[in-house]
Symmetry: C3
Subunit: 306 residues, 3 copies
């Protein structure tokens, strides 16, 4: 059974069976990752371009490992690539890449909708690795995989996403995916960082971190993007930390055992205290491992699915 | 039958049968590129260094894909490499690379003659990927391949190269190759951008784009290198466009169907209008595809030819 | 027989039989490097991360070639990687990499002790590719391999290291390794560039280059790191050259045939004259070749040794 789409642009509207297929396929690749030879020949002779027009280390390395472990040929194309600096349009850049007979493009771009745009102008499979503050579907898929791995299921769990919801593609993709899979989703953060009509997406809002902790099974703590604080949404980091940091102390509010997630890189001591990040409640490093498996699953399903 | 040289430095003086051998071999690799598994094991265990000491995206990616699809091991070495920044000479850099047992060097360098220089100091096969405003032989070979693919032959056709002829290695390599293959070659551009004694190379000169369009079977439109306009050769881009841009309107002067080529990246609306670039007359994207096949052919012929 | 350590952090305290095992294994790989297909499948499916947080070309390329020729999957991670720029700690960076199931990390870092630190927080095999002015063990191993190749043995030879001893990890690793292998080691340079109690490491000190030349079998001439001359240890390059440059003229002092080594990149005409660098006495390019073989040996022994 193939996926219902030739691309992975986002989790908005993605059918439940597609998500399930990806998560189930990822289980197979998780096993591959435990072997001494962590490699299968599945995508041999296929060419994948990593078009990371916005800086990234973690996601780029995760995709690159997934691609190599499927034996694909990999070409990296970064923001500093000269053709883009020379003023070539994105359209010309990708149509040129396509002319060279590539099979898939993994794109990260500051402009939301750019992966969708690529599907209009090329035949390669497109995978969204983050477009502006829109979606980051593989991150949400690995988050869901990690939750399912921990709890055996996603349905019926309460997942609270904490932080800058307004500017987070991780939050949005998680909201779409988790609600599709039957979880209860809430968000928590300062009013200035939560979109006004977020409830329309079927999520509850907490403005108080302690209330969120009291209710949730899982806290998915977002990174405060220090490097994007050109516009100011809260008075200072000290204030943010005082009101929203997830700390050992605060977790005492929890009525049940709580699971801590974070997409990384962590600002230790800002949105998450170091002891919580490194505690048994944290599945942050499992998320990283699962990220490779989930990306292998997506690449495999798209690359072999027609 | 091998090539008559161990290197590909330029098309000046290259025998017709060598050019024909490369184009014929490229036909085989064009077929490989249409397969689901676009890869052959021909250069397995050979190491190719891409020594791009001048920025490039398109040519570097094209070579890299060609190399990987021949199963070679690839090492990229860019201008920002620290040993060069530390003041090491080019000679020491390449002799060090050679000591590591590499088989081929693909070099792009701002200094004309640098590929030739490499042949004097190392045993690896040297491929010129552009040296200053001198030669860019693989570009001309892919241009010729694309013309032959379109017309079935090169001989007897009239190819006009339009733009900054003085500073273009693409122009010079095309002139050498096309005249060897029996084409009629002309150039067209502002007087300030055409070398004074260009006729000695056996080409006609047009200073009027409409006259060129009336005569030619093929227009190979060069990129105006906006980023190199530190010295001024024409009053303004507006002037250049007014007198030399290839537009739908202007193409009405043609007396026969005309074919449009461009080495890319295109400045849409400057040297070439967008509608012409995307029209049926344009074979620009075929050039890009053929570039991979032609480079595979060159690497294969040099890498297996002794 | 495996190595006695799971890591290669430095040559301080490394048992003689470990050094011998690496050098003997490297001999096998030197033969592989002479074949047309310079590749073995030994590390297929293993992932090696090159974590070069300090700029390097030569050592990075040498390791990368060694890794690819062992058929490992290679991920490059440079100082400009965005997660590090985003302020992620080294600890989080490497624990994330490890979570992605990597087998070995080759690390170059400006902070001495950082490779040792990695061994405390991850299970991957760690290879030190240079940590501050501490150790650079693969450089010293390739130096020893080159000496053994030239002389048939290391024991009993007199090796003099010339230059900035205080800031050189190459010097320190060579001192540890060579004394373990039974060589007589001396150092030569301006007083300001020689650590005060260097004799405690079992080496003699020459402040006069002619005396050193008279006694030594081998001169290992270090690079004067022009780019680090923010603090001044000698009046000027002219002075350094006048008193310490190794030149044809000076080598006439030698009482026996002398062998010249240099870790590169050379400042021709500063620490070493061009004619000496290119003379028959120089084994500088053999060092480069042996570097690939020695690194293959280290990667092989660690990667297959459990």
């Amino acid at each position: 059974m193939p996926l219902s789409s030739r691309h992975l642009l986002g989790l908005e509207g993605m059918p439940k069976q597609d998500i399930q297929l990806i998560l189930d396929t990822a289980t197979t690749f998780r096993e591959v990752l435990e072997r001494p030879v962590k490699k299968v020949p599945t995508l041999q002779g296929q060419t994948i371009v990593n078009l990371f027009l916005e800086d990234s280390t973690r996601t780029r390395v995760s995709f690159e490992l997934a691609e190599r472990r499927l034996s694909a040929d990999v070409v990296n194309f970064s923001a500093s690539a000269s053709s883009i600096k020379k003023g070539e349009t994105l359209k010309d850049t990708v149509r040129n890449l396509e002319a060279m007979k590539i099979d898939m493009v993994v794109i990260r771009h500051a402009a939301q909708g750019s992966p969708h745009f690529l599907t209009k102008i090329m035949n390669a499979h497109i995978i969204n690795a983050g477009d502006g503050s829109h979606e980051h579907p593989t991150q949400a898929l690995l988050d869901m995989y990690s939750i399912r791995e921990k709890f055996g299921t996603i349905e019926g769990l309460h997942v609270c996403i904490v932080g800058d919801i307004s500017h987070s593609r991780v939050a949005l993709s998680n909201i779409y995916g988790l609600t599709t899979m039957g979880a209860t989703v809430s968000v928590c953060g300062p009013k200035t960082l939560i979109p006004k009509d977020i409830e329309k997406l079927g999520v509850n809002v907490f403005y108080n971190i302690n209330s969120a902790i009291r209710e949730a099974d899982v806290l998915n703590v977002l990174r405060i993007q220090l490097e994007r604080q050109d516009r100011v949404f809260f008075p200072s980091l000290r204030e943010y930390r005082e009101y929203f940091a997830v700390t050992k102390e605060r977790l005492k509010c929890a009525r049940k055992e709580i699971t801590i997630m974070h997409p990384g890189p962590i600002n230790r001591g800002v949105e998450l205290s170091a002891d919580v990040a490194d505690s048994d409640a944290s599945i942050i490093l499992q998320q990283v491992l699962n990220g490779v498996a989930v990306r292998m699953a997506v690449l495999y399903l798209l690359g072999t699915g027609k």
